[in-house]
Amino acid sequence: MDRRTFLATTAAGAAALSFPAILRAQSTEPLRIGFPLPLTGPFGALAADQQRGATLAMEELNAQGGVLGRKVEVLFRDDQLKPAVGAQRTKELIENDKVQFIVGGLAAHVQMAINEQTKKSKVLFISVSQSDEISAKPDTSPLTFHEALNPTITSRAVGNWVAQNLGKKWWIIYADYAWGKQNNMVLQDVLGKQGGTVLGSTPYPLGSAEFSAHLPKIQAAKPEVLVSMTPGADNIAFLKQVQSYGMKKSMRIAQPLHWLPQLKEGGPDLYADIYGGTSFYWELADTVPSAKKYVEVYQKKYNAPPGDYGAYAFSGVMEIARGCTLAKSFDSEAVADALRKNATYDHYKGKQWWRTCDNKSFQDLWIVKGREPGKTRGEWGLAEIVTKIPASEELDRTCKEKGLA
């Protein structure tokens, strides 16, 4: 043991002694939260961010003495981005590991498979990834909470802004699966209301990585904005091909979502001047107090800034804790009621609230734009914040439209 570790250990020991709450917390059964996430599979980088965010929440809660005197324990399980595995791990978490709550899931299909299990076991589930269905009939339930944005909110917010600021003649290209199709529908609707024209809307097979079929056609139509829903590895391939056809110069490119790991993968050369929406970007630390705190803690522990999915996970775990404290109970129904009664919270980016009819979280989102090569802010400062779109229930479907009267 060198001097530094010795000091660290003694300091930790002293801290433990001086905070009796921690000792008390450790003497009882911990509060267990199950967290399925795709640590393996193509979205491993986003899952790693989720795991970090949730871990930070756990550590922060335990440093404050846990929840109602109980230590918090988050149990991470690899769902491999496969719904069946997500369902199996959730069942095991509930039945064998006796978790009281489930937070987690990445990608809509895995979340809904998890939700099937939590509904059956009457366990409160906070979903932390995009999905329209999860907060609508028939999938939702009084114990299903949705912390993340959804395609409707994202595309309405980004679509309105793009139409007002970048141009009203669009071409839309989207991956032919649920997320792409939902976004496409919402965007077409938004542009219609803004009085713009959709020159064309092209689906492509998800994961095909070949866009050059469509690009000449799009180029010839001369849209002002090209809106793309090309998730995962497709996004890089798409932008590379757009660039090689020289289309970045002749039109603006916008997408509903920018993901930090992807900006990093593609680099500023690819993402420069590409507009996108995001639920969280670490440079918010400059302006939002709770963001500053979250980014600092995260940066210190992991030596890299947090991403949006990790922040959802952080907030999800914190909400479980807040709900338990308010309800003075670990019972799922009681916690759900407590969250609906005290619906407003702020864990990392400003005020958010639960809409009580569908347990959907409403929150600000931001439009960001890729920085040019040479103008980036360090290794991870790949985008600049263009504007904030304030939280609004108008952006989502109404509870009636979701089948919840």
């Binding site: 690899d78 496969k82 719904p83 069946a84 069942k91 498979a113 059956k120 032919d176 649920a178």
Partner: protein
Amino acid sequence: MSALRAIAARIATHPVLAFWIFFVVFPFIVPNRTMATQVLIFGLLAMGFNLLYGYTGLLSFGHAAYYGLGAYGCGIALAKLHVGSLWLGLISGFLLAALGGLVIGFFCLRRRGIYFAMLTLAFAQLLYFIGFHLSDWTGGDDGLRGIPQLALGLGPWRYQIDTTIAFYYFAYVLVGLAVLALKRILDSPFGAVLQAIRENSSRAEACGYDVNRVKHLSFVFSACFAGLAGSLDALRLTVVPVESLYWTTSGQVVIMTLLGGSGTFFGPFVGAATFLVLEERLSLVLESWPLVIGAIFSAFVLFLPKGIWGTLTGGIHGRQSA
């Protein structure tokens, strides 16, 4: 080791009885009861695969297709068509898988040898993409949700399957019947022909057997077992993800069977249990656990081709042993 072998040999002589006795206590001797049902279902799926690979000598890399068809058949009948009976749901899954086996088997058996593996893989991918796009029926990439766990009706008597342990025994009886059916198939003259084909296809042909027809029938039986497994899994999880049809499911079945021992009666169940436990345990301690699974599997192919159960029972690879 020799004691283990003796026990294994004893089990091997009465496989069906051994199955019924062992699996009745199984959920009480494993720490993870939720996984017990999964072992039964994936064991059944691997058992179907083994009929084709281990006993007929045809390597299928597309068993996801029949598992997925079974799952969708059952799920669509219950969640979309609201047939209102668990039995009808199971039968729908079973029949859809059998039909899939019949049609795809016809195509894949147009070419022999190593082609077969590639064709089964390609056709399973075709089904995956069809399932992906037919989202009105399959839920597309969101998967089919909301499959009701109806009570099982047996005349006036009703059996609830909505708890883990109740579902286990429901699956136990069905899988046990499938095990009995497989034993009957293997012991019949048809089973003898299958193994003759595996040993030497041309000789079987020379003996006057319609080799292609026998293979096709074996293919359909194999698909039926896989389809039953799929139906059960749809009921267990109340969701059918489109990934059920994806080729990784097929790969998993191959790994399970090879780990347990192909061409052995219990190998698939041993393999399914080994794989599922490995996957669950490894993923807790190691992020890149698929690498370890790949290495273990490769090592088995190289050094332990008889698999765990085959090595224990000392059965010679390529001969029937229980």
